[in-house]
């Protein structure tokens, strides 16, 4: 009788250990995965709140539309992930970055304080610039004879 009790207790104990170790590993993994995702989500929210752009001036020169946008926030943005909409339609445009006296088109980073200039062939009346986090700015295009921003 004594052997029966201790033998079965050992088997149940080993079963409990195996079950617990399986459950523990999966729970820790799952918790870790969700926590990491939440961290990244919080980071994205913070980046979005720290992002701000301002459309400086919009000029039309014949068929060419030039839009100057300044990164007035505190995050470095990706130019590839920045979008330009003209009259509500997605537009691929040439871009250059100006920081003080330096101008370059060989970068993907749009740092705080830098001015991004988009150049597109379009006769549109309104432009919208959207950053990678979804922060947007809109401006109207002035008539061809004026160059002031609205």
């Amino acid at each position: 009788m004594g052997f029966s009790v201790s033998g079965s207790t050992v088997i149940i104990l080993i079963g409990c250990l195996i079950a617990f170790s399986a459950a523990f590993t999966v729970t820790v993994d799952s918790f870790d995965r969700v926590t990491t995702a939440q961290d990244e989500h919080a980071d994205r929210l913070l980046d979005r709140q720290n992002t701000e752009i301002e459309i400086g001036d919009v000029q039309r020169d014949d068929a060419t539309l030039t839009v100057h946008v300044t990164n007035t926030g505190s995050t470095a943005l990706s130019i590839d992930r920045t979008d330009l909409l003209i009259d509500g339609g997605y537009t691929h445009a040439e871009h250059t970055i100006t920081n003080g006296d330096t101008t370059t088109d060989d970068t993907d980073l749009w740092l705080p304080g830098d001015t991004l200039a988009f150049e597109a062939e379009s006769g549109g009346d309104s432009v919208k610039v959207v950053t990678q986090h979804g922060v947007a700015a809109t401006a109207d295009v002035p008539d061809a004879d004026t160059t002031e921003a609205t």
Partner: protein, 154 residues
């Protein structure tokens, strides 16, 4: 005396069998629960990682196309992937509601370059409308539980 040890042996074997079956059932049940927790955390992670924004200009005429003689009207929304995951462009994860009504006949095309609707990319979601629209409307795009709402006037 011999019969006592035989019956002890039988009870011993029986108790081992019962204990083994209890332990086996326990392990199988716990593994079932663990795999469910794993899947749940996977989908929760995907849900947290997915984020979209409708970047269409509500005041532009590019949003709503009037019905023409042989074509229905349609709604074109520019949807930006502001999350971390790549959204499939076959529409399997994407639902569109217009004025709270579920719409089928959705076409997705990535317009920002490349074929994949990856993080930061913009896709044009075109929704066929059987009926023409007038006045104010509200479109909602839902991907993996993440939703974006867009109000516009026709």
């Amino acid at each position: 005396m011999g019969s006592v040890s035989i019956s002890h042996l039988i009870i011993f074997i029986a108790s081992l069998l019962v204990a083994a079956s209890v332990a086996g059932t326990l392990i199988v049940s716990v593994e079932d629960v663990s795999s469910s927790v794993d899947q749940q955390s996977d989908s929760l992670t995907q849900q947290i990682d997915t984020d979209i924004a409708i970047i269409s200009d509500p005041s532009s005429p590019a949003v709503y196309q009037e019905p023409e003689e042989d074509e229905n009207g349609s709604l074109t929304l520019l949807v930006k992937n502001t999350g971390e995951t790549t959204i499939p462009t076959d529409g399997s994860n994407l639902d569109v509601l217009v004025d709270g009504q579920y719409r089928t006949g959705i076409d997705i095309e990535v317009v920002s370059g490349g074929d994949r609707w990856s993080s930061g990319a913009v896709a044009e979601v075109t929704v066929d409308l059987d009926d023409g629209l007038t006045d104010d409307h509200r479109a909602t795009v839902i991907v993996n539980g993440s939703q974006a709402t867009f109000n516009f006037r026709v």
